[in-house]
């Protein structure tokens, strides 16, 4: 049987997943700033208020701690809330609820409860958001045991992983790349289409070099990889999709095959996702490496406003191509 799919943007796929989960399970509801009538800053939740009403699609005050506290408390009481933080940058004002409450409750209360909350956060560059509306904070949360950190890059993954997130019993922080919102893909319409956490996706196979990329960098890596096939260079592009749990096996198997690893990551370099993946490969796959590991990151600088400046610092296909050729 051919799976029925529909072409849609990333943000539509997220909406579809939320809509299906809210239809399936009464305990699922969504809350956040301006997610109702307005439909959310990126229109991810557009139409949900009309469909489910204001009890289950809740516009909140601009109180990020109260939003997350409320979502976490409701999860402790057996609901399955989805909370939106308008921009990842605003996570700074509610770190408390994520780090000290949601992530800790299961452990510090001796397994008496779990916290099935999904925290949605749009992140990344590409909208001239400047220093306080463009950041990539995903690596911070990898450092907090108790959280699951999800970062899809493509429409069908958005849907499948969002559905898994909502049904998962642990707190999930779901990073939604702004550029990936607008990329289209073929999304399965099956209402039980779920993608398990901890399973990387190989976007294209190749023997020459392993490219591990996340978010918008997957697309950039794919452009680079496609171009390089003309020169008979074959890259294997891997998107981990979930950073915690991380599919080390797929990454290590690829490095075993290619002997070369490039990691492309939109976060700034120090203590980034790329740092963690590089460390894992050195620690657990050193014998496979024929060359040094290359990390392509945004440099350690606040994100500038001017598109000319932003373009200068965010890794792109051209830069990735150059680095690949240099390594090979």
């Amino acid at each position: 049987m051919v799976e029925e799919t529909k072409t849609m943007r990333g943000l539509d796929a997220i909406r579809l997943a939320i809509e299906e989960e809210m239809e399936r399970d009464e305990s699922v509801f969504i809350m956040g700033e301006d997610i109702g009538k307005f439909g959310g800053c990126f229109f991810v939740t557009e139409g949900l208020l009309e469909k489910f009403g204001p009890e289950r699609v809740r516009d909140t005050p601009i109180s990020e701690n109260a939003i997350l506290g409320c979502a976490i408390g409701a999860a402790m009481a057996g609901m399955r809330p989805i909370a939106e933080i308008m921009f990842a940058d605003f996570l700074t004002v509610c770190m408390e609820m994520i780090v000290n409450q949601a992530a800790k409750a299961s452990y510090m209360y001796g397994g008496q409860i779990s916290v099935p909350v999904t925290i949605r956060v749009p992140f990344g560059t590409g909208i001239m958001g400047a220093a306080q509306h463009s950041q990539s904070f995903e690596s911070w949360f990898m450092h907090v045991p108790g959280l699951k950190v999800i970062l899809p890059s493509e429409a069908s993954d958005f849907k499948g992983l969002m559905k898994t997130a909502v049904r998962d019993d642990d707190p999930v922080i779901f990073f939604e790349n702004k550029r990936a919102y607008y990329l289209t893909g073929d999304v399965p319409l099956d209402k039980d289409f779920k993608i398990p956490f901890g399973q990387a996706r190989i976007f294209t196979e190749g023997d020459d070099v392993t490219l591990v990329a996340t978010g918008a960098m997957v697309q950039e890596s794919m452009i680079a990889a496609t171009k390089l096939t003309e020169e008979n260079i074959h890259c294997e592009v891997i998107d981990p999709r979930t950073l915690v749990p991380l599919d080390k096996k797929t990454i290590l198997a690829s490095v075993e095959k290619t002997g070369k690893l490039i990691i492309v990551d939109e976060g700034c370099k120090t203590c980034s996702v790329s740092a963690e993946i590089a460390a894992i490969v050195v620690e657990e796959g050193f014998q496979y490496l024929k060359k040094e590991i290359i990390r392509i990151n945004t440099p350690d600088v606040p994100i500038p406003y001017s598109p000319k400046l932003e373009k200068k610092i965010i890794p792109n296909a051209k830069l990735i191509q150059e680095k690949i050729k240099k390594l090979i």
Binding site: F29, E55, R56, T60, P61, S63, E64, N65, A66, L68, G69, C70, A71, I72, G73, A74, A75, M76, A77, G78, M79, P81, E96, M97, N100, Q101, A105, S106, Y107, M108, Y109, G110, G111, Q112, I113, S114, M142, P145, G146, K148, D169, D170, F197, G198, V244, P245, L246, K248, E276, I280
Partner: protein
């Protein structure tokens, strides 16, 4: 003030239970203090002197109503009906502790009793209370949430967010501010320009009361009124209970910042002694019963101490349990 009529709706048994619970908390904290050298954690906060608040408040709610607690949580735990043995064992870090020795004094919780946990972060309980209240409201369960916090916590941004949201959404939350006059060493009047925190309530669109937190019946009555409002969809109330922490901030605090005279003055206003006098005057209990209750309480504490002492330490091989519901593979493991 600690002398009015005893409420008619409470039976003699219930009135005596209030006394028993307050005494149990008092003796529990005294026992822990005595043994503090062996606990080894400096971060143990006792509730001595404040017993009337937790006990009076929990008396005003049903068993399946919720509470959230603070770093000073033993009293709330006992008042909500938590098991003293597993509380003691938790403070000693044992496997038989209510959190299997993973949480300790600052994280005691009993979800089977709707006691949603002590919390090591000052001011972090109230945001969680919002969600529990919302869940109750969305499911039409009619349950309410009491959220306890201190005068120090009252100045956290999280409290502002929580009181506002609770009022805006008419959530069944009762904000119980335990004003024990100090946030650690800082007197509340040095941290706050107002005399009574309850006036803040108006700014959020809820009712506010300042009451004698050492009068267990006044606490009970006021909370009961707030609970009735909340249960009938009237939203939250802020209740400031004035009280005093008899001991230092933690069991190892040398407590040099408060004068002996001040401490003495407050000890003269002991909530348990005052209530006992009322019970005797109301002919609810007599000297013999008082003696019996005292002895029974001490036996209970001794038993819990023995339970904790003889309990196993957690098995080190289980240290990674419960980080997630089911173990997962991730970078660090």
């Amino acid at each position: 003030m600690n002398g009015g009529e005893l409420p008619k709706e409470l039976s003699s048994d219930e009135l005596i239970n209030i006394y028993k619970k307050m005494l149990l908390i008092r003796k529990f904290e005294q026992r822990i203090t005595k043994d503090f050298g062996k606990i080894k954690s400096p971060l143990v906060h006792t509730y001595t002197g404040e017993e009337a608040i937790a006990v009076g408040a929990c008396m005003a709610i049903n068993e399946d109503d919720y509470i959230t607690s603070t770093h000073r949580g033993h009293g709330h735990f006992i008042a909500k009906g938590g098991d003293v043995n597993s509380l003691m064992a938790e403070i000693y870090g044992k496997e038989g502790g209510i959190c299997k020795g993973r949480g300790g004094s600052m994280h005691v919780a009993d979800f089977s009793k709707s006691m949603l946990g002590a919390n090591g972060i000052v001011g972090a309980g109230p945001p969680l209370a919002l969600g529990v209240a919302l869940a109750s409201k969305m499911r039409n369960e009619g349950k309410v949430v009491l959220t306890f916090f201190g005068d120090g916590a009252a100045n956290q941004g999280m409290l502002h967010e929580s009181m506002n949201l609770a009022a805006a959404w008419k959530l069944p939350v009762i904000f119980i501010l335990e004003n024990n006059m100090y946030g650690w060493s800082t007197p509340f009047h040095a941290a706050t320009a107002i005399k009574d925190f309850s006036i803040r309530a108006q700014g959020y669109g809820m009712k506010g009361f300042t009451i004698d937190g050492n009068d267990v019946i006044e606490v009970y009555k006021t909370i009961k009124e707030a609970v009735d409002i909340a249960r009938n969809g009237g939203g939250p109330t802020l209740i400031e209970c004035k009280t005093y922490r008899w001991q230092g901030q933690t069991i190892m605090d040398p407590d040099k910042y408060r004068s002996p005279e001040e401490k003495e003055e407050w000890k003269n206003r002991c909530p348990i002694k005052a209530y006992k006098t009322r019970l005797i005057r109301g002919e609810i209990i007599d000297k013999v019963m008082i003696q019996e209750i005292e002895e029974m309480t001490l036996v209970k504490i001794d038993e819990s101490f023995k339970f904790a002492k003889e309990n196993k330490n957690p098995d080190p091989s289980t240290v990674l349990d419960n980080v997630y519901k089911k173990p997962i593979k991730y970078g660090g493991n």
